[in-house]
Structures are given as C-alpha cells and as structure tokens.
C-alpha cells in the first residue's frame, strides 16, 4: 500500500490509494474492535470486512452489541458519554478514529438510517436538500432532490407535494424520506440500524426491494433482528452474540450450513 502525502490548502493528511490496488474491494474494515460504555465492554474484539457494493447483514440477539458496532462505523458513538473505542476502524485504509480525522467529514461519506424514522419537521424538499446545501452544494438542488427521491422509490408519491410537511407522511414513507435524505449526500457507505423494525410488512417489503437497487451504487451494512430479512437481502452475514463475532460468511452458508453451533441454534430459532 503506497502512502504519499499531497499538498493542498487545508488538508495535511491525505492518503492516496491506487485504483489497481483495490483488488480486495474492501471499503470498510474493523480490526479487533473493542467498545466499552463506562468501562463495561459491549463489543469485545471484533474483526470484519465490508465489501464494496454488497449488502452485509449483522444479526444477533438483543444486546449483543450490533447497533453499538454499527454506530462506530460513522462515529456516531462520539455522542455517547463514557464510550471508549479501541482497535481499528479503517475506511479505505484510513483509521476513522485517527488523530486528524474530522468526524463531520466521516459522516458525509458514511451515512446512516435509523430505526425509528426521524425526518426533520420541515417540508419534504427541505429534508432532502438541507444536507447537501449546508455542505456547500452549488449545483442544481432540485435535480439532486428529485434524483434522491427517485432512488429512494418515493418520488412518485410525493412529487406533487414537495412543499408539504414531512411529518404528514406515513411511517414507511418517512423512512424512505430518511433514506433519500442520506442518498442526497452521495455517501459511499450506508449504515442501516434495523430500518424496518418500526414499519408495517408492506413498507418493509418496499424497503427491502429498495436495498437491492441501492447496492448497485452503494455499500450497505444492515443491522437487523429479522432473520428472514437478512437471508433475503444480504450477500454476507455476521452473527454476533454478547459482544463477540461468532461467525461471518456468505449468507447462504450462514443460514443453510453454519460452521458454529451457536450460529445454527440462533438461525434455527432455538434461542434469541
């Protein structure tokens, strides 16, 4: 891996990775990640890779640390008092928790959709447009909004009422709006924390279809409780329990032919 420094106005730490060297296709990688809340370990040394343009699901029983780990990937754990992170979280080889790394920059490239839809109490248009605008977007904002809403499969339903309040949308629509909002930032990775658990089955199906479309252009990491969802939607699955990574592999193997007994017990519903 070649590391060369580049001179630019305000950037003093630039790592260039040659395109040919992207043979491993690894966008995000965690190495022996340990996360503790006020001293108590919630994630106990997990190593994992997330590959480009694939959907990786993280499953496991409640409290196993999957959401905690997800929030680390875009430094949202910074907001939790007493949360300490050890180990490496590498984005294209750059440690996200490194000295000079600005978490705001991280979040522009790694977006997140939350469990409960949380649109801003503003209009549908403003919800999607706000992120790019505060980040200095100078192009055609209307085109960007339309493109994002289309990618989120929401455009047809709202194109005539972009000025209406986002709070008037249904739960499923709000969640798709949150996805559109994230897409408008044109991130490389999208993290989803149980995105359908607050939604009805029809909306859930919509969003799962959406995930297949999205992976063409983005890398997705999804935390889910719903094993059917994981087995339907993802290419790779990681199974966690009590803060440990029990098994990681291609989804079809995890669900039909798991290597570990704990994994087998979980996916066949013997516990969890």
């Amino acid at each position: 891996m070649n590391v060369s420094t580049m001179n630019a106005n305000s950037i003093t730490d630039v790592i260039t990775e040659k395109k040919e060297e992207a043979k491993n296709n690894v966008v995000l990688e965690i190495k022996d990640l340990k996360i503790a809340y006020s001293g108590e370990l919630a994630v106990k040394g997990v190593s994992l890779s997330f590959l480009k343009n694939e959907i990786t699901a993280i499953i496991g029983p409640s409290g196993c640390g999957k959401s905690t780990m997800l929030r680390c990937l875009n430094r949202m754990n910074d907001f939790i008092l007493g949360c300490t992170v050890e180990g490496g979280v590498l984005y294209h080889g750059v440690d996200l928790y490194g000295q000079d790394v600005d978490p705001v920059e991280v979040r522009r490239k790694i977006g997140m959709v939350f469990q409960k839809p949380n649109p801003f109490p503003k209009s549908i248009f403003d919800n999607v447009a706000w992120g790019p605008l505060i980040n200095g977007f100078k192009g055609d904002i209307h085109a960007l909004v339309e493109k994002s809403l289309q990618s989120a499969a929401l455009w047809n339903e709202v194109k005539d009422r972009l000025g209406n309040s986002a709070m008037a949308l249904s739960g499923g629509q709000q969640q798709r709006l949150c996805i559109a909002r994230t897409l408008a930032m044109e991130p490389e990775v999208i993290l989803m924390d149980e995105p359908c658990s607050a939604l009805d089955p029809v909306s859930t199906a919509h969003i799962e279809d959406l995930m297949f479309e999205l992976k063409k252009d983005y890398t997705l990491v999804i935390v889910t409780h719903n094993m059917q969802q994981a087995s339907r939607a993802s290419r790779y699955t990681a199974f966690m329990e009590s803060g440990n990574l029990i098994e990681f592999g291609e989804t079809k193997n995890i669900f039909t032919n798991p290597k570990e007994k704990r994994t087998e017990d979980y996916v066949t519903g013997r516990f969890g």
Binding site: M76, R107, N118, P121, W130
Partner: protein, 286 residues
C-alpha cells in the same frame, strides 16, 4: 376487632377537601378584589389627557406620558441586550458544553443569580454602569441593569425549551455530516423557539414591573420629558406609580391606580402578542 369509625373520618376528609378548594379559589378571589379596587380608584382618572400629560404637582394636570415612554425605551433596550445574550448562553450551556466542573459551576451561578433580590442588582448597576462606565442615570444604564436581572430567567427557560427538543432530530442531522452549530441553528432552535419566546416574554414582563433597581440607579421620580436617546434621563411606569402612591393625598393615590391600569395594560398587550406569535409558530410546525 378494627373499628373503622368511617363516618367521622369521611366527614373530616370532606372538610379537608372543602378547605383546600376554598383556599385555592381564595387566591383568585384576592386577584379579583385587587383588580376591582384598582379599577374603581383609577378608571375615573384614565383618559387621553392622562396619557398625554407629564407629572405635575397638581393632580388634575398630572399625566403619565413621560413614564410610559420611559418604560417603552427601557424595555426595548433591555430586550436588545438580554435576549441575544440570554439565548446565546442557553444554547451554549445546553448544546455545546459537556458536563464538567465548569458547566456545573456556571449552573450553580445561574440558579443563585436567579434568587438574588432585585435591589442588589440595582446596587450592581449603580456602581458599575452609572459610576464606573460613566453612563449616569440614563436609559442605557437602566437597560443594562435590567438585562443582568432577567438574564438568568431567560437562560433557564431557553435551556428547558432546548431540552424538550427530541434527540432524534439532532442525531439525524449529525448523521448527515452537520456540525453542531448547523444542527442547532437549522433544527433545534426553530423547534424550541415557542418555548424560548414564552420565557423571554415572562422575563420582560418581570422587567417592566421592577422598581427597586431603577430607583437605585437613579431613575428620577419627577421627569417632565420623554427620552430622546439612550443616554437621556428617564422615568418609568413603576417609578411613577411608586411616587404617586407615596404621597399622602388621596388624589395621588387615585392617580397611582390609573398608572397601574396603564402598566397592566402594557403587560397584557405584551403577553397577548406572545400568545398569538406562539400559536402561529406552533401551527406552522404542524
């Protein structure tokens, strides 16, 4: 064998209930009596001439013009100083500062300052603004003193309003790569604004009615002119009322009542505007 003696206990309970109820409504009754008394004494004196004239030794010629305008000048400048600083401090303490020794020290300070008697603020204003800054007995000195007085109230109510905004909004904004200020400015403040506005109006209402600090900084009690600039001397409605009420003659007491009616009218107007604005803002957010 337990003998409950229920009927006597029920009777006592009923008595207690009636006692609590009547005592509660007593407060309202007193309010009614007070307003009635003020109206009865003051209404006969309330006319355009009263509003237009300046105070005078002769009750029939006395008016409240200078006091009314003095109050308006004072409140405008007080709002000018206290509102931005108060909201700024509230935003900083609630959104930017983490829980550490400094923030706890500031919290302690603010809650103590909220309980300091207003006359001590008057003394502070007199020494610092009137003497040390050399502002003399001007509207500016009065406004700065009042601002210090109501600052803790504004800070506390701003913080409560900010606290009421759900954390999910902030999380969503951060996840999009927004900085703290961008998040606060674009999302948290607009949502918290109705609550902040209520706090501001409450604080300003208090400032309008305060007399002691103004006396200490030397707002004059006999002023026969309207201020034309922030460095002018002034009087204010509560001072004028105090002045008239302190005189032994019955007619001046009645003038005081008329002045009170004007003061209450100003307060009512201000609070009504706030209620309307708040209503509009809350409807817009739906």
């Amino acid at each position: 064998m337990i003998s409950p003696d229920l009927s006597r206990r029920y009777f006592k309970a009923k008595l207690f209930r009636v006692f609590c109820m009547s005592v509660s409504w007593m407060g309202v009754l007193i309010l009614g009596v007070l307003l009635y008394h003020v109206c009865r004494e003051g209404l006969p004196w309330l006319d355009m001439q009263f509003l237009e004239d300046f105070p005078s030794r002769f009750p029939k010629k006395a008016g409240i013009n200078s006091a009314l305008f003095g109050t308006l000048w004072l409140i405008s400048f007080t709002a000018l100083f206290s509102v931005p600083i108060g909201i700024g401090a509230g935003v900083y303490l609630e959104e930017f500062e983490t829980k550490n020794a400094f923030s706890r020290f500031v919290d302690l300070n603010i809650s103590n300052l909220a309980g300091v008697p207003s006359i001590v603020y008057g003394m502070l204003g007199m020494v610092i603004f009137v003497r040390f800054f050399g502002l003399e007995e001007s509207v500016l000195a009065g406004a700065m003193t009042m601002s210090l007085l109501i600052l803790p109230v504004i800070i506390i109510s701003t913080r409560e309003a900010l606290r009421a905004v759900p954390g999910t909004i902030r999380q969503a904004a951060f996840a999009l790569g927004a900085t703290r200020w961008q998040t606060v400015y674009a999302h948290v403040l607009p949502q918290a604004f109705p609550g902040i506005l209520t706090g501001i109006i409450l604080a300003l209402s208090r400032a309008i009615g305060e007399t002691a600090p103004l006396i200490m900084i030397g707002a004059l009690t006999y002023v026969a002119f309207v201020p034309e600039g922030p460095m002018d001397e002034f009087t204010a409605l509560p001072i004028q009322i105090f002045n008239w009420a302190s005189r032994p003659q019955q007619e001046f007491h009645e003038l005081a009542a008329a002045g009170i009616l004007v003061l209450l009218a100003v307060l009512l107007l201000m609070n009504s505007i706030a209620v309307i604005i708040r209503h509009r803002l809350e409807n817009k957010n739906q």
